[in-house]
């Protein structure tokens, strides 16, 4: 049995929380399998020995440090391919996120491995890992068994708990990688650009979130009015942020932020998985949508099938009256 290798994403000197969750999960599974969990990072000067050493605290034994471009999948595929080839890892785990999906899929092609994405749980059975993945709008869980030398597990974001305090500093192994010609055919022009105003939604107790069902950018006024009387903030889905209706800083979901307010009121949001993973930990979920079949009604505590243009203004008035009285 080879070890488990985890890709750790970082940005401007900080390690990604979902990656740390994946390292913690890998360390736990490696303990059960009787092997070790290692990490791999690809980047530049901000990957200091101090920063990488902290990965030991989450259970990593070795950290393979590779100098290379950041934010692109294919150089990382080259790096992981080399490290796995030389060290015989049996499994690879990613904490989720866009880059993890791309690297995991490309690595599966490179090493003829099996790959499962959107994994929410991993268990040890008969000395092997079995990945559990919700499918069909989370109505069923499919269990993946791996054949061959390498199994690749791509977690859903927030699936793996971050657990520190597991050990000392990790051993850092500097690794030189020659990148494939096609990996260097893509180059980062600008990374991590923020668009629109800076808003803070992560600390809000109440969030009123708007989606495509608002119909147009101006529709967000309805959300802002309601959030105003509820003492909350306004959040948005990826679709409307990409459409330029609302700032990126307010975005909930797979790309974007994860929130868990006391009240999450979703207006005109269908409830795609990519959105759900960023808000399903909310204490109370209220959804307003005109489509009775919208997936969001499957995980909302209170669902209203109706026209938000009629409901939101009256709800704002009613809440205002309630508070005033």
């Amino acid at each position: 049995m080879g070890g488990i290798l985890v890709y750790v994403l970082h940005y401007e000197g900080a390690l990604n929380k979902n990656s740390l969750g994946a390292v913690s999960e890998a360390a736990k599974l490696a303990g059960e399998l009787g092997t070790t969990a290692d990490a791999i990072v690809v980047g530049g000067a901000d990957l200091t020995p101090e920063l990488l050493g902290t990965l030991g605290d989450y259970g990593a034994s070795k950290v393979y440090k590779v100098e290379g471009p950041e934010g692109l999948a294919q150089p990382v595929i080259d790096a992981m391919d080399k490290v796995i080839g030389e060290n015989g890892h049996s499994y690879v785990i990613f904490g989720g996120g866009l880059l993890g999906f791309e690297i995991g899929a490309g690595l599966a092609a490179r090493r003829q491995a099996g790959v499962t994405m959107e994994v929410t749980g991993v268990v040890v059975e008969g000395g092997k890992l079995v990945a559990e993945r919700p499918i069909l709008g989370d109505s069923q869980i499919s269990r993946s068994h791996y054949q061959g030398d390498l199994g690749i597990i791509i977690g859903r974001i927030n699936a793996f708990e971050v657990k520190g305090g597991q050990g000392g500093a990790a051993e850092i192994v500097d690794t030189a990688v020659e990148f494939s010609p096609w990996s260097t055919q893509a180059s980062m022009v600008q990374r991590g650009e923020q668009r629109g105003a800076d808003v803070n939604i992560e600390d809000a107790n109440v969030l009123v979130a708007g989606g495509r069902g608002l119909g147009k950018a101006e529709g967000f006024q309805l959300c802002e009015d309601l959030a105003g009387v509820l003492g909350g903030a306004v959040a948005a889905t990826r679709a409307v942020v990409d459409a330029g209706w609302y700032p990126y800083a307010a975005q909930i979901g797979q790309t974007g932020k994860s929130v868990a307010p006391k009240l999450y009121l979703a207006a005109g949001i269908s409830g795609a998985i990519q959105h759900k993973v960023g808000m399903q930990a909310s204490e109370n979920i209220v959804a307003i949508n005109k489509d009775a079949n919208a997936p969001i009604f499957e995980f909302s505590d209170l669902g209203i099938v109706g026209d938000l243009n009629k409901i939101l203004p009256k709800l704002t008035e009613a809440v205002k009256a309630k508070k005033g009285g």
């Binding site: 899929a105 994405m117 499918i135 893509a186």
Partner: protein
């Protein structure tokens, strides 16, 4: 230059999806349609062709699937593709995402495209990742979830959202690009285009025609076996209100929020 667009037939969104208990695979019978995300990929191809910054001679729709998948190709050519290629072979049935990507890459090798475009995710299996698999086999650079695509310096200038904000990436050709649905508003096919779709050239290929090693595809060639299914932990169903009288509905919402001390 040539653009290949990968398309896929998926169960219609209005049809309830299920697993066939006898095979452990998605039941793909019933009403089907072109994967809605793929229409954005075809539109992106048409805009590159019409934009003129690259000399695009041909847009080819490519699919893998059973006999019925031909309908997705008809839809693709009605939206503007010039011809189509249908990879179909019993040996391919039951392929996982890695095996499917390998098979599609072999079909694409025969076409030698300068650009491969596809929708960011298919509506049924939620495999966002097929583009990355195809790209590694083709030894081409790849980017997924692209929401803006421009021709710059003879390559593609791509924008997308990643973990820390918007990234802009310059990609040299040939390249494999998955597009997100925010990239464009797909056009509707004209009646003439729909009528003419079946007259555009459609080529069929079996696994052997494009050099696929059949030991690497199908259920037996796949490295992931997803045979068992179980129910997720039960979540109690929420209350649903059908809004008929908005004043009454709002009163109910306020009472519900008040009960939970949320106002």
């Amino acid at each position: 230059m040539k653009i290949c667009v990968l398309v896929k037939e998926v169960p219609d969104a209005a049809v309830e999806k299920r697993i066939d208990p006898s095979t452990g695979r998605m039941d793909r019978s019933g009403e089907k349609n072109l994967n809605p995300y793929d229409t954005h990929a075809i539109e992106a191809a048409m805009q590159l062709k019409e934009g003129g910054a690259l000399q695009i001679d041909e847009v080819v729709a490519v699919t893998m699937g059973p006999e019925t998948a031909v309908r997705a190709l008809h839809k693709a050519v009605s939206l503007g593709a010039d011809r189509s290629l249908h990879l179909s072979d019993d040996a391919l049935a039951g392929s996982d995402v890695a095996a499917t990507g390998y098979a599609l890459a072999k079909a694409l090798e025969k076409e030698q495209p300068d650009i491969v475009l596809l929708g960011q995710q298919s509506d049924d299996g939620e495999c966002y990742t097929i583009g990355a698999v195809v790209a590694d086999h083709l030894r081409a650079p790849s980017l997924t979830q692209v929401i803006k695509l421009d021709v710059v310096d003879g390559g593609l200038r791509c924008e997308r959202q990643a973990e820390y904000g918007y990234d802009t990436v310059q990609v040299g050709l040939p390249a494999v690009i998955s597009v997100g649905d925010a990239i464009n508003e797909p056009r509707y096919p004209s009646l003439k285009a729909i009528m003419g779709a079946k007259k555009k050239p459609l080529e069929k290929a079996a696994a052997g025609d494009v050099g696929i090693d059949t030991s690497l595809v199908g259920a037996d060639g796949s490295r992931v076996q997803c045979g068992e299914f179980k129910a997720p932990p039960a979540k109690s169903a929420g209350t649903i209100i059908e809004d008929e009288d908005t004043d009454a509905t709002v009163e109910q919402i306020v009472a519900w929020l008040d009960e939970r001390k949320l106002i």
